[in-house]
């Protein structure tokens, strides 16, 4: 029982990271109907941005909570800029071409980020410095809750609430929902669709960068290919929740994280990466629209 609770705890922390990444997938899919393959690699870029910020401000010498905030915000800003650039130069010129071309471009962008990462940062993993003091907050028998887990969970919860607020309560969010409903109708009522799409990419990329930093707090190493597997699993989480649905991404991410923690805890860690694809194939077979997704018949 105790190990079950511990696994549940670990899974929730991991799952909230997946949820943050899945949100980016789901938002971009909702607005462009594009699986943004490069999203996982933006997580990686965010992690590197965090690494260099931490080294620049000398965070490793004085791990404090303030440093964590500075690193997080810097990484989010850097990734948001990258997301804007990708959208502007790679995706926007392809707004009116067959979707297959857009998908191939997304794969190209993803490969470019991975390989440029290897050329610029080196292929060997680097250690992510400890940017906040680590301590055990609660110790109950075998169960330990560390402040890192709490930080991961609270930060992602906070970002999700902010996102929910933006999407549901602000004018920008209303515009986003309108554009995802229909680009044409949205532009007819005066919404600058290009700007809204760009904003969506910026927000999604910033969330990805936050996820990158949170990953590095829990597993302190960065390498140019770290985003690939993370991105794939988060994508599965988004499909599990119902792609296009923001709540679905959060629930899917948490389920994914908990399932993975259980497989690692009770099964074998060699299966942890296969699990995601097993889940994906099962959803596609039995509930292609996902848990929260609506089945949308295609209209001609």
């Amino acid at each position: 029982m105790e190990s079950f609770l511990q696994l549940l705890l670990n899974g929730t922390a991991l799952g909230s990271i997946y949820a943050l990444i899945a949100l980016g997938y789901t938002m971009v899919y909702g607005i462009l109907r594009l699986i943004n393959f490069a999203h996982g690699d933006i997580v990686m870029v965010g992690a590197y941005a965090g690494l260099f910020t931490a080294l620049a401000i000398g965070a490793p010498a004085h791990p404090t909570f303030g440093n964590f905030c500075v690193v997080l915000i810097a990484a989010m800003a850097a990734s948001a800029l990258l997301g804007l650039a990708i959208e502007r130069f790679a995706y926007r010129p392809l707004r009116n071409v067959p979707r297959l071309n857009l998908l191939i471009t997304a794969v190209g962008v993803s490969l470019l980020l991975e390989n440029l990462g290897q050329v610029c940062f080196g292929a060997t993993p680097r250690v992510f410095p400890e940017i906040m003091p680590s301590m055990t907050l609660i110790q109950y028998g075998q169960i330990a809750v560390t402040n890192q887990q709490v930080t991961v969970f609270v930060t992602s919860l906070f970002l999700m609430i902010v996102l929910e607020w933006i999407v549901l309560k602000t004018k920008l969010g209303r515009a986003m929902r309108a554009v995802s409903f229909s680009h044409e109708i949205a532009s007819l009522v005066g919404i600058p669709t290009d700007k809204i799409v760009a904003f969506t990419f910026a927000v999604g990329s910033a969330l990805a960068a936050a996820a990158g930093i949170l990953i590095c707090i829990s597993y302190p190493r960065v390498d140019p290919l770290m985003g690939v597997m993370m991105g794939l699993k988060a994508f599965v989480a988004a499909v599990l929740g119902g792609i296009g649905s923001i709540r679905g991404a959060v629930v899917g991410g948490l389920l994914m994280g908990i399932a993975e923690a259980m497989v690692v805890g009770y099964g074998s860690s060699t299966y942890r990466d296969a699990l995601a694809f097993a889940i994906l194939i099962l959803i596609l077979l039995f509930k292609p629209a996902g848990l929260f997704g609506k089945y949308q018949p295609e209209k001609v």
């Binding site: 392809l94 191939i104 490969l111 295609e298």
Partner: protein, 324 residues
């Protein structure tokens, strides 16, 4: 019947010419030529899915791995009594290739059925994941060497056989596009809803194309294994799948001759770039590949040839027969 005989003779003549060519070429170039031809078979197989039916598969290397390991296992473990003389070697190789085709076609069916029922981009993700899973599975099978790789595979692939299979694939694809089944696939590529409305069973055509494509990729894998006589799981990683996708995209999605040309370019190009690599000390190949993908999509999404074939360009016809 008469025209079939003509085609068989052409196939044999082309393959014999290739065999003669590799005999006179320097060994290094001849080796590259055979590897390029194997890549061309892969590109033609993927062209069926990515080019002709407008789906997007990212796991062709996985099917190649299934074929390579099946062919090698069949030949090494089951057919050793057949081997020993040149004719026996070739018969054993052909039998293993057939088994490999069946095995990878079956795996293609298992992967394709759940994903191709749906519209959209799931195939890319599922095939990507499948490619990785199959590699991990092979890594854990000790009977075929696991991470050490499969050694002592009979070295019986000849330029004749590779080019024969390549030419056969080209001929069959060409014929297929002209037939009603091929038309159905093209209709699916152009507009799936319209195709369905016209009575095309989209799922079964898509799955069919995917199965054939996987089977051919499996044959290419078998040829690859019997050419190098050593395979290991890392030869079939995600990079290999991407390489095959780039061959199809570069050549022009839907153009068979374009895919073959791109396969030759992409096999010889890294060798030509080797001096640059020695200079920069980093593997720039993938950076170039990925830039190539993006730039192609932005500047010339139809690829080098578009949907036309080599012979259509030289004969000056503006549009492909298949595009009409």
């Amino acid at each position: 019947m008469r025209s079939n005989l003509k085609w068989v003779l052409i196939l044999l003549a082309v393959s014999l010419a290739a065999q003669g060519l590799t005999a006179v070429l320097p060994p290094y170039i001849a080796q590259l030529f055979i590897l390029a031809s194997i890549n061309a078979v892969l590109a033609v197989s993927l062209n069926l899915v990515n080019g002709l039916s407008g789906q997007f598969s990212l796991g062709q290397a996985g099917f190649m791995a299934v074929g390579a390991y099946t062919a090698a296992s069949v030949n090494v473990f089951l057919l050793s009594s057949l081997r020993g003389n040149p004719a026996g070697d070739q018969i054993a190789l052909v039998i293993s290739l057939i088994v490999a085709a069946v095995a990878s076609g079956f795996v293609g069916y298992l992967v394709g059925l759940p994903t191709l029922r749906l519209r959209g981009d799931y195939l890319a993700i599922v095939t990507l994941g499948f490619g990785e899973i199959i590699r991990v599975v092979i890594l854990n099978i000790q009977a075929v060497g696991g991470a050490r790789g499969f050694t002592n595979i009979p070295n019986s692939t000849s330029a004749f056989l590779v080019v024969f299979i390549l030419a056969l694939c080209v001929l069959l694809t060409h014929r297929f596009v002209m037939a009603s089944q091929g038309r159905a696939l093209l209709a699916i590529r152009e507009n799936e809803i319209a195709a369905e409305a016209m009575g095309v069973n989209t799922t079964s055509y898509k799955v069919g194309a995917f199965v054939v494509s996987s089977a051919v990729a499996g044959v290419a894998g078998g040829l690859f294994a019997h050419y190098l006589s050593y395979i290991n799981p890392s030869s079939f990683d995600f990079m290999k799948s991407v390489e095959i996708v780039i061959m199809v995209v570069l050549g022009g999605m839907g153009s068979v001759s374009g895919a073959i040309l791109a396969a030759f370019i992409l096999t010889f190009l890294p060798e030509a770039l080797r001096p640059l690599q020695d200079f920069t000390h980093v593997d720039l190949r993938m950076v170039i590949y990925s830039l190539l993908l993006i730039v192609m999509m932005l500047m010339r999404p139809q690829g080098i040839f578009g949907r036309r074939e080599l012979w259509q360009i030289f004969s000056g016809s503006k549009t492909s027969k298949s595009a009409k």
